[in-house]
C-alpha cells in the first residue's frame, strides 16, 4: 500500500492510499482495518450523476458540507483571492447520492450525468 504520486489531491484532504486487489488469500489483511486512506471500496464508481457546484450561485452557507454523508464536501482556498474559500467536492469520496443538490437552498449544485 502506498500513496499514489500521480494523485494530485488537495494536501489538506485525507490522502488516498492505493490498494491493489489481492489475488490470493494471504495477501489480504487478516482483519478489516486498514491504514487511514485505504479505500477498499472506492465510492467514485458508485456514481451515476456527479454534483457540480455553481460558484456564482453558491452563498458559502455550508449546508452541503454539513449534510454530505461521506464528508466529500470541503472548503478549498481560492488561488486567485487570498483568504477566500469556496466549496469544493472530493470526487474520490463522493458517491453521487445528490443530497447536497437537494439540500442547497440556492440551487447552486446541479447533478450531471457521469
Amino acid at each position: 500500500m502506498a500513496t499514489d504520486p500521480n494523485n494530485k489531491r488537495n494536501p489538506n484532504r485525507p490522502q488516498i492510499v492505493s490498494w491493489n486487489i489481492p489475488s490470493k488469500l494471504e495477501d489480504y489483511l487478516p482483519y478489516p482495518h486498514a491504514p487511514s486512506g485505504v479505500l477498499i471500496e472506492g465510492h467514485a464508481n458508485w456514481r451515476l450523476e456527479k454534483p457540480i457546484v455553481d460558484c456564482v450561485a453558491c452563498k458559502n452557507c455550508g449546508t452541503c458540507e454539513l449534510l454530505c454523508p461521506d464528508a466529500a464536501i470541503f472548503y478549498e482556498e481560492v488561488a486567485s483571492a487570498k483568504s477566500a474559500k469556496s466549496i469544493a467536492i472530493d470526487y474520490e469520496l463522493c458517491k453521487g447520492c445528490g443530497i447536497c443538490a437537494f439540500e442547497c437552498k440556492f440551487n447552486a449544485i446541479k447533478m450531471e450525468k457521469e
Partner: protein, 366 residues
C-alpha cells in the same frame, strides 16, 4: 503457589479477571451475572484492580465500548447473560469479524417469553454463528481456569477472536465451591501482557472496520475460519482439550453434555457402570471451534449417543445434536444420535431422569 478460597462461580470469575488485569471493563448488570460485576466493582473501589471500569447503559454499548478499547491495543473484559447477550447480538458479529480479542463471561440463562431468569443454554446456543469462540465450564474451578485461558486464547495472534465463556446460571454462578486460586506470579506466566494484533493510535491512524463488498468479503471470512482452526489447535495443546471423555473406554453408548449437568451425569455413569451398563460421558468444552475430529475418533465404534442440551430448536432437531450428527456423518457404522432437551427455564434434571435418558439411548428410542 495457589491459595484455597470458598467462592461462588461468579466470584471465581471475578478473581480470575482481577489476575488477568484487563485495562478496560465495560459491563451492564443482569441476573445471574450481576455478582461478577459487583465483585469487580469492589476490586476497583478498594484499589485491588486498576482498570477503566465503564458503567455503560446497555449491553450493546458494553461491547461497542470494548471494541473501541481493544482497537487501541488493550485487554478488555465484559460479562452478560440471556437478554443482554441477545441485545449484544449485532455487536457479537461485529467483534468477531473485527478480530477484537475481547473476553466475555456469559451466565447461561433462559430467554423470554415466558419471562424467566433461571439457567438454561438457549441464550449462547442461539449465537453459535456469531463467530465467537464458545467455551462451556462444568464447575467453578474450571470457570476460574478458563477465564485466564480465554484471554490467552483470544489474544493469540493466530487466533485473534473474541471468547465467550459460558457458565450455567445459578447452578454455577451462585453455588459455592472450595477453589484453588493461583498467585499473580503464576497467572502472569499463563497470561503474558497483551500484545495487540493490530493497533489504532494517533501516529498511525486506522480506518477501522471498513466495508468489503462481494469481491472481498469472503477473504475476510476465510481468515476468521483460520483463526478458529488455530484456536482448536491451541486449546487442545495448552488448555485442556475441546472435549472431556469420562469412562468411554469400554462403553458402547454415550451421553453427550455441556456445562454443569455433566457432574451429575458422571455420578449416574459411575453407578450404572458398576452395574455393568456400557455407557460413558463425552462433555463438550468448546462448541466453537466445534470438536468434529475429536467426536469422530471418540465415538467411532459407538452404537448410540444421546445429546442432552438445555436448549430447544423449535421445529427442528436441537442445535448441538444436529451438529454432532453432522460431525459423525459418513463414518462407517456411524452411531445413531438422539436429541434430548432438558433443564429449560432452570427446570431441575434429576439423576433418575438421566437414567431414563440413558435407557432410551440404550433402547435406541427417542
Amino acid at each position: 503457589m495457589a491459595i484455597q478460597k470458598f467462592l461462588s462461580g461468579n466470584e471465581a470469575i471475578a478473581e480470575a479477571v482481577k489476575l488477568a488485569k484487563p485495562a478496560v471493563i465495560a459491563v451492564y448488570p443482569i441476573t445471574p451475572q450481576t455478582t461478577v460485576v459487583e465483585k469487580l466493582a469492589d476490586f476497583v473501589a478498594n484499589g485491588e484492580l486498576k482498570t477503566e471500569f465503564i458503567n455503560v447503559e446497555s449491553e450493546h454499548s458494553a461491547l461497542s465500548a470494548l471494541m473501541g478499547a481493544s482497537a487501541m491495543g488493550v485487554r478488555t473484559f465484559t460479562a452478560t447473560s440471556s437478554q443482554g447477550l441477545l441485545y449484544m447480538s449485532e455487536c457479537l458479529h461485529y467483534a468477531a469479524g473485527g478480530r477484537f480479542p475481547i473476553v466475555m463471561m456469559n451466565a447461561n440463562r433462559a430467554v423470554a417469553l415466558p419471562w424467566n431468569i433461571f439457567g438454561d443454554q438457549r441464550d449462547s446456543l442461539s449465537q453459535l454463528e456469531s463467530g465467537w469462540i464458545q467455551l462451556y465450564a462444568e464447575n467453578a474451578q474450571e470457570a476460574f481456569d478458563l477465564t485466564l485461558s480465554s484471554f490467552a486464547i483470544a489474544e493469540n495472534h493466530a487466533v485473534a477472536l473474541p471468547v465467550m465463556l459460558n457458565v450455567d446460571g445459578f447452578a454455577l454462578t451462585h453455588t459455592y465451591e472450595p477453589l484453588n486460586i493461583i498467585s499473580q506470579e503464576d497467572a502472569d506466566k499463563i497470561l503474558p501482557p497483551f500484545k495487540p494484533f493490530f493497533e489504532m493510535n494517533l501516529e498511525k491512524p486506522l480506518s477501522l472496520g471498513f466495508s468489503a463488498g462481494p469481491r472481498d468479503n469472503t477473504a475476510f471470512k476465510q481468515h476468521q475460519i483460520n483463526g478458529m482452526k488455530a484456536a482448536a489447535k491451541l486449546i487442545n495443546e495448552k488448555f485442556g482439550d475441546l472435549v472431556d471423555a469420562y469412562k468411554l473406554e469400554n462403553a458402547k453408548y454415550a451421553i453427550i453434555t455441556l456445562g454443569s449437568i455433566s457432574g451429575l451425569v458422571r455420578d449416574v455413569i459411575d453407578e450404572l457402570q458398576s452395574d455393568g451398563v456400557k455407557v460413558g460421558l463425552l462433555r463438550l468444552r468448546s462448541l466453537r471451534p466445534f470438536p468434529e475430529e475429536e467426536l469422530r475418533s471418540a465415538l467411532a465404534n459407538f452404537k448410540t449417543v444421546g445429546v442432552l442440551e438445555k436448549n430447544l430448536s423449535v421445529g427442528a432437531e436441537n442445535a448441538v445434536a444436529k451438529e454432532i450428527k453432522s460431525a459423525l456423518y459418513g463414518l462407517e457404522n456411524a452411531p445413531q444420535v438422539l436429541a434430548f432437551s432438558g433443564g429449560l427455564g432452570g427446570r431441575d434434571i434429576s439423576a433418575n431422569e438421566i437414567k431414563d435418558i440413558i435407557s432410551k439411548i440404550i433402547g435406541g428410542e427417542k
